[in-house]
C-alpha cells in the first residue's frame, strides 16, 4: 500500500505480523474497555480506536529500550508496543494495586513506564512537549544516542506549551520527534476552529524545522516516515514534526456523546477506512497473513484480554496507607 522508495527500510514478515498483533491486541482491549464501562465496572475510558496504525507504525520505528517516549492518553497501542501488558492496562482501568503508571493515582491511560523509558504525563494537554525537548537536550548534552518521541492531539497544538517546546528543539537541533495524531477533533471542536493552517505539518514552517504529514491510517507509511525522522534525529539532523492523520472512531471518551457535533455518515465513513481492517487486508493480499493465522491471532487476543480482565478484577485496591505518599522523594526512601 505504501510506495516503497529506495530509502525505505524493508520489514520482515515477522515484524509486520508483530505490528499487526499489537494493533489487534490494542483494539480488542479497547473494545472490551468500552464494554466493561457500559457494564458499570469502570468509571472512565478514553479510546485509541482508529489511532492504532499511527501509534504502532511510530513505535516500531523507534529503538525500544534505548529511545524515550513521552506519550498522551490515546496511546494504548503505542504503550503495548513499548511493553505495557494487558494486565497492567486493565489494572489502570480499574484503579487497582500494581497499576504501573501511577499506583492508581492517575486516571486510566495516563501512562508511565519507567522500565521502558516511557515518561509520566498528566491530563493538562501539551505540558509534555517541553519535557520531550528537555529530554532531547539532556540526550544531546550527554552525547547519548537515544531519540525521544512525544505524541499529542492536533487540538492541543494550539497551546503555547506546544509552540515553546517545539521551538527549543528547533533552535538546538534536538533529537526529538513531535508526533501529532490529527483526528480532526478536540472533543467537539473541529480543526478549523483550532488553526488557520490546513495541516499541522505547516506549523513546523513557522518554527524552522521539518514538518511532514502522513496517512496515519496506514501503519507501514507511518513506520517509514517516522523511521526516517528517527534516523535523522539520531544522526544529529534535528527534530521533525510529523502529523499522522487518523480517525477518532469513538466519542472523545466514555464521558462524551459525539452525536451532538458530528454525523452518523462521518462515523460510517471512518469505519470504512478502519486502519486495522486495511492492514489485515494488505497482509493477506501480500500473503503474509492467511485466514488460519488470523483466526489464531484473534483467539489469542481474546484470551489475553479475558485473562487481563480476570486478573485485574481479582486484584486488590491500593492500600489506603499508601495514599499519603510519595509527595517528596524522601517519602519513597522512608517507605
Amino acid at each position: 500500500m505504501v510506495d516503497v522508495e529506495e530509502t525505505q527500510t524493508i520489514l520482515s514478515n515477522k515484524t509486520m505480523l508483530e505490528m499487526y498483533w499489537t494493533m489487534l491486541l490494542s483494539r480488542k482491549l479497547d473494545e472490551r474497555a468500552w464494554i466493561i464501562h457500559r457494564q458499570g465496572k469502570i468509571a472512565f475510558h478514553i479510546s485509541g480506536i482508529g489511532h492504532e496504525a499511527a501509534q504502532v507504525g511510530a513505535a516500531f520505528a523507534m529503538e525500544r529500550g534505548v529511545d524515550w517516549l513521552v506519550p498522551y492518553y490515546r496511546d494504548l497501542a503505542m504503550l503495548l508496543a513499548f511493553g505495557l501488558t494487558p494486565k497492567e492496562f486493565v489494572l489502570g482501568l480499574l484503579g487497582k494495586k500494581g497499576e504501573p503508571s501511577s499506583g492508581a493515582r492517575q486516571m486510566p491511560s495516563h501512562w508511565s513506564l519507567r522500565r521502558a523509558n516511557v515518561v509520566s504525563h498528566s491530563s493538562p494537554v501539551a505540558t509534555q512537549t517541553p519535557h520531550a525537548s528537555g529530554i532531547g537536550l539532556a540526550i544531546k548534552m550527554r552525547g547519548d544516542r537515544a531519540v525521544v518521541l512525544t505524541s499529542i492531539g492536533e487540538g492541543s497544538t494550539s497551546q503555547g506549551e506546544w509552540y515553546e517546546g517545539v521551538n527549543w528543539a528547533a533552535i538546538h537541533q534536538l533529537p526529538v520527534i513531535f508526533l501529532v495524531e490529527n483526528n480532526e477533533y478536540a472533543i467537539s471542536v473541529p480543526q478549523p476552529k483550532q488553526m488557520a493552517v490546513s495541516s499541522v505539518a505547516q506549523k513546523a514552517k513557522g518554527l524552522g524545522l521539518e514538518g511532514i504529514s502522513v496517512n496515519g491510517l496506514d501503519v507501514l507509511e507511518t513506520y517509514q516516515s517516522v523511521k526516517r525522522a528517527v534516523d535523522k534525529a539520531r544522526s544529529g539532523g534535528g527534530p521533525t514534526v510529523i502529523e499522522v492523520c487518523v480517525s477518532r472512531m469513538t466519542p472523545h471518551s466514555s464521558d462524551d456523546d459525539d452525536r451532538s457535533y458530528r454525523s452518523k455518515e462521518e462515523i460510517e465513513a471512518m469505519k470504512a477506512q478502519d486502519p486495522l481492517d486495511m492492514y489485515r487486508a494488505h497482509l493477506m493480499q501480500e500473503g503474509v497473513l492467511n485466514q488460519a493465522a488470523e483466526d489464531e491471532l484473534q483467539t489469542r487476543a481474546k484470551a489475553a484480554v479475558e485473562e487481563a480482565i480476570q486478573f485485574a478484577e481479582q486484584a486488590p485496591f491500593p492500600d489506603i496507607e499508601d495514599a499519603s505518599f510519595p509527595v517528596f522523594v524522601e517519602d519513597i526512601q522512608n517507605a
Binding site: 486516571m107 493538562p124 471542536v189 457535533y261
Partner: protein, 328 residues
C-alpha cells in the same frame, strides 16, 4: 417553585444575561454545539449563535487573554475553563493582567469578565480533574472569587458576577452539579450580592465556616451533630474574596469556637486566611483553638476509589471534627 439542579441555576443565569445584555458572550472549549462537557451551556449555542457562544481553540491562556481584550473594548465575556485544574496556563493572564488592569491604569481601563471553572473532587477525576484552586486567586488583589453551594446562589451570584465591572472568578462545585438541588423562583429576578456570606443554619455552640461542596456536607454534618446535642451555626461564605468579615466575626463572637472546612489542601488553603483573620480580630472571644479540617497535603484526590475517599472530606469526617471541637 420548581426544584432544579445547581448546574441548571448556572445555565439559567447565563441564558438570562445573554438575553439581557448583547455585550455578554461565552467563550471556551466545547461550549458551542457540545453545550459544554458538563452541559452548562446546553442550548445556548442554538439560541444565541456561534458568535455569542464561541468555541475557542484548546488554549486557556488565550481564552482569558482574548476575553480581557474583548472586555477592554466593552464586551462582557464569560470565559469557561473546562476544569479548574486547567486554569494554570492562564495564571499569568489572570494574575498579571486581568487583576491588575484597573489599578495599573489608575482606573482608565476595566476588565468586566467572569471566569467560570468547575472545581473539586469526588467524581473519579484523579489528580487533574479534582483540584480546588481558589486559594491562588483569593490571594490576588483585584480579583473577586465566588463559590456557590446551591442552585439559587449559583444563579444569583453568577448574574451578579456577569454584571460586575471587575474580573470575577467563579468556581463551581462539580460534584454538586446534579447532586445539589433547590428551588429557584421563576417569576422574580434572582440576584445574590457578591461579598455577602450567608448564615445558612443558626446555632449557638460552635461555628462552622465552609463554602461550595463542603458547605453542602457541613449542613448534613450539623444535622448529625444536632442529634448529639450540639447546636452548630453554619456559615456559607459564598464569596471568598472580598471576604465578609462582619458575618464571620459576629458568629464567632457568639459561639466562641470555630471549625473551618475546605476541600483544598490544608497548607496555604483559603482556610488559613479565615483562621488568621479570626486569630487577630476575634481572639478575645475564642474559647478553643481554631480548627481547620481540609484535604491532606498531597497533590489533589487520587483516582482509585479508596484513595479518593481517603482524600475527600465527607459529612462523617466533618461531624467528627464538630464533636471533637464541641468537647474542647
Amino acid at each position: 417553585m420548581p426544584e432544579v439542579t445547581l448546574i441548571e441555576g448556572i445555565r439559567q443565569a447565563m441564558d438570562e444575561e445573554l438575553a439581557r445584555d448583547e455585550n455578554v458572550f461565552i467563550v471556551g472549549e466545547d461550549v458551542g454545539p457540545r453545550g459544554g462537557v458538563f452541559r452548562a451551556t446546553e442550548g445556548l449555542y442554538e439560541k444565541y449563535g456561534g458568535e455569542r457562544v464561541l468555541d475557542s481553540p484548546l488554549a486557556e491562556l488565550s481564552i482569558v487573554g482574548v476575553g480581557i481584550g474583548a472586555a477592554l473594548y466593552g464586551l462582557r465575556p464569560i470565559c469557561e475553563i473546562q476544569f479548574a485544574d486547567f486554569i494554570h496556563p492562564a495564571f499569568n493572564q489572570i494574575v498579571n493582567e486581568a487583576a491588575r488592569m484597573c489599578y495599573r491604569s489608575n482606573g482608565e481601563w476595566q476588565v468586566p469578565m467572569v471566569i467560570r471553572a468547575p472545581y473539586g473532587g469526588g467524581i473519579g477525576g484523579g489528580l487533574y480533574h479534582s483540584q480546588s484552586v481558589e486559594a491562588f486567586f483569593a490571594h490576588v488583589p483585584g480579583l473577586k472569587v465566588v463559590i456557590p453551594s446551591n442552585p439559587y446562589d449559583a444563579k444569583g451570584l453568577l448574574k451578579s458576577a456577569i454584571r460586575d465591572p471587575n474580573p470575577v472568578i467563579y468556581f463551581e462545585p462539580k460534584k454538586g452539579y446534579r447532586l445539589i438541588k433547590g428551588e429557584i423562583p421563576e417569576d422574580e429576578e434572582v440576584l445574590v450580592p457578591i461579598g455577602a456570606a450567608n448564615v445558612s443554619r443558626p446555632g449557638t455552640d460552635l461555628t462552622v465556616i465552609a463554602y461550595g461542596m463542603m458547605h453542602y456536607y457541613t449542613l448534613q454534618a450539623a444535622q448529625a451533630a444536632e442529634s448529639k446535642g450540639i447546636d452548630v451555626e453554619v456559615i456559607d461564605l459564598r464569596t471568598i474574596t472580598p471576604i465578609d468579615k462582619k458575618t464571620i466575626l459576629a458568629s464567632v463572637q457568639k459561639t466562641g469556637k470555630v471549625l473551618i472546612v475546605y476541600e483544598d489542601n490544608l497548607t496555604g488553603g483559603f482556610g488559613a486566611e479565615i483562621s488568621a483573620i479570626l486569630a487577630e480580630d476575634a481572639f478575645t472571644y475564642l474559647d478553643a483553638p481554631i480548627r481547620r479540617l481540609a484535604g491532606p497535603d498531597v497533590p489533589a484526590a487520587p483516582y482509585s476509589h479508596p484513595l479518593q475517599n481517603w482524600f475527600m472530606l465527607d459529612p462523617k469526617k466533618i461531624s467528627d471534627a464538630i464533636q471533637e471541637l464541641a468537647e474542647f
